[in-house]
Symmetry: C2
Subunit: 207 residues, 2 copies
DNA sequence: TGGGCGGGTGAGCAAGCGCTTAGCGACCCG
DNA sequence: CGGGTCGCTAAGCGCTTGCTCACCCGCCCA
């Protein structure tokens, strides 16, 4: 297994049996590289070291694989942001923590992130609807923190909704451009982005 | 032709003959809705009101259609940002103008923008290389303005390269989420984003 | 010992894909 | 009037796709 596969795998430890986990990891990598529609079931099975037919023992369809990936990924995002929203501390601290965690995750797991954030259009209609619901909840988590900051007089933003969208947009897009071979580590990008976001909301920062 | 087709069409006025233009417009809409790989040549031809074979009179392959769209779109982006970089005025003015124009374009032509920004992975290797070159130039334009601002003492940024990436990322992602049926007009999003970006670079703004 | 069962394979089917080819009508020019 | 050209179509070719099916192997417990 390549180093890339190892990092992709870390996020899927609890998928069993082993063959099913190998298939998710293979699917994440293939979907991230080529996109859902350009990926063949033969490619996924091949990466997992199995014959094409073996895929259908563990998953009903190719779309179900995408759905599992998308669902788990969105739930993790939501858990991360929800936690940041609900901890004690100033709005600035909570916003910085949320952005740091969210960005770090999208950098570290940029293959998974790419699939989660950019391939949801390939989901079946009912799955798509469910995922959109999760996305609205993650949006709400960020909006709540920003609104809290405004209410407390900590933040000064031109428009809460638009700023929320911009913050999320900024974080999500990390999955698209992040390159593990580049100069920046996930931690560094997280710190940089947390700083940029605090500037965006007009929060006073330590010098 | 729908209202959507009309706005998509505005960007392709100079493609001739008429049938070729109808094909690009149809391709932009189809690629934006479903993605390149999920779009069939039959779908494109159908939207343009022609038989599947007619497509190949005007374009050698389906990929060539994507290449034309991608090339023209990137050239327009580059022209826009290059102009903003080269006009007179403070760095803050130039950065705000660049962001405003770039965001406005990605909102107004969000279908084209979606294809230009998110489908380049489907390009043939040599076309991909060419487009990546154009993208580096657009990145350079933004970086130059930010570096100018830092040199002039107008801006205070944690890191020029990372901030450049973040600014571009923010603007590009507008094409993904912008919804013309939503509450915000392209002008409003442009103004909001220009403000947010000035905050990010620590530029003093009029109150 | 043996039979069921979970996990796997090789071969292949029906459908849909990108693209080609033979031919057709409208038009322009000598 | 006649022939070449341009834009287009109907039909279909060769191939790949997602997915299925008949069969197989190793393991566990009666």
């Amino acid at each position: 297994m390549s180093a890339e596969a190892a990092t992709t795998g870390e996020a899927w430890e609890d998928v069993t049996p082993d063959a099913a986990r190998r298939l998710v990891i293979a699917a994440v990598q293939a979907f991230a590289e080529r996109g859902y529609h350009a990926t063949t079931t033969r490619d996924i099975a091949g990466r997992a070291g199995m014959s094409p037919a073996a895929l259908y023992i563990h998953y009903k369809t190719k779309e179900e694989l995408l759905y599992q990936i998308s669902r788990v990924g969105h739930q993790r995002s939501l858990a991360m942001l929800g936690e940041a929203r609900d901890t004690a501390g100033s709005a600035a601290d909570r916003l910085a923590a949320a952005v740091r965690a969210f960005v770090r995750w999208h950098a570290e797991h940029h293959t998974t992130g790419r699939v989660v954030q950019y391939e949801l259009g390939a989901l079946a209609p009912d799955h798509y609807t469910e995922i959109v619901g999760l996305r609205r909840q993650t949006e709400d988590a960020i909006r709540t923190i920003i609104a809290d900051g405004v209410a407390a007089g900590e933040f000064d933003v031109p428009e809460v909704n638009g700023t929320t969208l911009a913050v999320l947009s900024l974080c999500i897009d990390v999955a698209r451009w992040f390159n593990p071979a580049g100069r920046r580590t996930p931690d560094e990008v997280g710190a940089l982005y947390a700083d940029l976001v605090l500037r965006m909301v007009g929060a006073p920062r330590e010098p």
